[in-house]
Amino acid sequence: MYTPLPMRRWTDFFVLIAVLTAMILFFGVLRESFFSAATLGSVANRIPALALVATGMTLVMVTGGIDLSVGSLLGLCGAAVGVMMADWHWGLMLALVGSVFVGGLIGSTTGAVSVKLGLPSFIVSLGMLEISRGLAFLTTDSQTKYIGADIESLGAPIGGLVISSAFVISVLFVVAGQVLLSHTAIGRHWIAVGANHEAALISGVPVDRPRILAHALLGALTGLAAVFNCSRLGSADPNAGVGFELSAIAAVVVGGTSLMGGRGSVVKSFMGVLIIATLEAGLVQIGASEPVKRVVTGTVIVIAVLADTWRRK
């Protein structure tokens, strides 16, 4: 049966809401303390870095690309923040700009190498994953850089609320990302390139610059995410972000963005972030072991992809 596109989008959205609600109820039944301000705060504090990276990853995946280096890039940008604040005694704002710059530069490089040399972004980003991690360790001499109160304010709850400045800022970027994707010319170019690269080329749509820009934006958002991650730890750890790319891709896929490109929503990726963060928080609260967490998270991803594939047939 044919379902009109706008109705399908709303259906997708409500399905995600239903999944999130069911998950909250499930964990709440298993562990009464799940329904608490502390849990809400714990989930909210997991979100900012992941939400930012998922926003950028949505844009890249819409163009048909992927970036596996974001976890290592998070570590590298965090390392840069550590050096800037702990060693050079820069202020938070200057370090934030520096981190965003480093992330944007690396992201642009990944995009440019992939696009201009015609290499799959999967392979290029795999190489950048190793390069970034190595640079993170070199930058910090493999030591954790303790920063302290200068950066903790970003992750601290605002007033008497459980959410932090980082959470609010990340939500604003989610909204901005959705506006960029769905209401601007560049957004339409991203979708066109991802949906059909050859058709876009023949139609005169620029195909290289949008893809490079998507990678650059992902890198810059990862740089900002690194600052939020450092505020959560109070320090910069060169090991930060290991496996983070999988969480980001999982959130984007759960949110319905196609791995083939041409289709995606930043807002639904954010719903995917909420689902992944709630799942992780719930599994910790019920005392699930690490192997169990990995099996469950992986199963959720596969189910999400299967459900999406089945719905579109």
Binding site: A38, G41, S42, N45, A86, T144, Y146, I147, G148, A149, D150, R232, L233, G234, S235, D237, N239, A240, V242, G243, V284, Q285, G287, E290
Partner: protein, 327 residues
């Protein structure tokens, strides 16, 4: 010549570390590393490397006092004082191995928690009876007893006066379990208790934290359980281990690391971080801040470990665990 040697020895004797007096505070219910850690305490006491004053339990289970007494008796200390928490808010935990307390293979006389002392009262008594600054408390479970000790009348002052150091297994201070934001079980199963300890423990009494990452890097070899404890027909450590983990698992030595540091702190089985302060966040994360980074405290350090120390520490833990008990 003999007089010269004795004279020189008398000059150096103050440099030899005093034998630590230890109180072992454990949540011996869920995981089995507590059982191995308690075995280490007994072995170290047998070797006169320390004086074991008593054992207290920080979680709720009707068999905790009975099992601890059974293990103490097995190791040749049937009269060692045992205290259990009376705090109803402390986590209630089921156990795969505490039922060994009811086995006729491990005779002992303390059968009911009601017959054991209150943990905090026992700790207070033990502290009061000892010289000042002489006791090392080893806390390897949730911090219910430590928090309630601090909150008891004059508790903070008593700790300040009598305790030399707190060796605590809790938190995570390095990348571990595939994350650098690991929420460790001893903290998240009693966040409020651990926050009380982190916030109210006296500045003058050092705390040395053994994070999750230390135990994770010290897996107890399964072959030792399979082959090296058969010198007795029934060995409580072996049977508890098999009931909990089975024969094909190398259980990380989280709690054992805290015992090893507490008794042999000068032997460099571990390194120590720079001094600072640990803060326990509301989600259970343990954030370490060095002195000088916006705070002046030097109270806390966490254990570090290089590859050489890893090998040494593991071998020490193994041999201190499997030594035959004195009878």
């Amino acid at each position: 010549m003999k007089r010269l040697i004795l004279f020189l020895f008398s000059l150096t004797s103050p440099l030899i570390a005093e034998k630590p007096k230890i109180i072992f505070d454990t949540d011996i219910t869920g995981d089995v590393d507590d059982v191995l850690a308690l075995a280490m305490c007994h072995t170290l006491a047998d070797r006169e490397a320390c004086e074991l004053l008593g054992v207290t339990v920080s979680k709720n289970n009707q068999l905790t006092a009975s099992f601890v007494d059974a293990q103490n008796t097995f190791h040749g200390r049937p009269d060692l004082p045992v205290g259990v928490t009376r705090d109803k808010e402390a986590q209630q935990r089921e156990s795969k191995y505490l039922k060994l307390a009811d086995s006729p293979d491990y005779p002992h006389d303390l059968k009911r928690n009601e017959d054991a002392k209150d943990a905090v009262e026992l700790i207070r008594e033990l502290l009061a009876a000892q010289p000042d600054h002489s006791i090392t408390i080893i806390s390897v479970g949730i911090a219910s007893n430590m928090a309630n000790l601090l909150k008891s009348p004059g508790g903070v002052d008593l700790v300040k006066k009598k305790v030399k150091a707190l060796s605590i297994m809790a938190g995570a201070f390095a990348f571990c379990n595939r994350t650098n934001y690991h929420l460790e079980a001893n903290v998240i199963n009693g966040i409020g208790y651990m926050q009380t300890v982190a916030d109210q423990w006296p500045e003058e009494v050092p705390i040395v934290w053994s994070g999750y990452e230390i135990g994770e890097a010290l897996p107890f070899p399964r072959i030792v359980i399979q082959r090296d404890l058969d010198y007795l027909p029934h060995h409580i450590v072996k049977e508890a281990y098999l009931l909990h983990s089975g024969p094909e698992h190398d259980r990380p030595c989280w709690d054992e690391s805290s015992v090893l540091w507490a008794v042999y702190s000068e032997r460099e089985f571990f390194g120590l971080s720079q001094p600072g302060r640990v803060k326990v966040l509301d989600d259970g994360f343990t954030r370490f801040l060095p002195q000088g980074k916006g705070q002046t405290s030097r109270r806390d350090r966490f254990l570090t470990m290089n590859s050489v120390q890893q090998s040494r520490a593991l071998e020490a833990i193994v041999h201190l665990t499997i030594q035959p008990p004195r009878r």
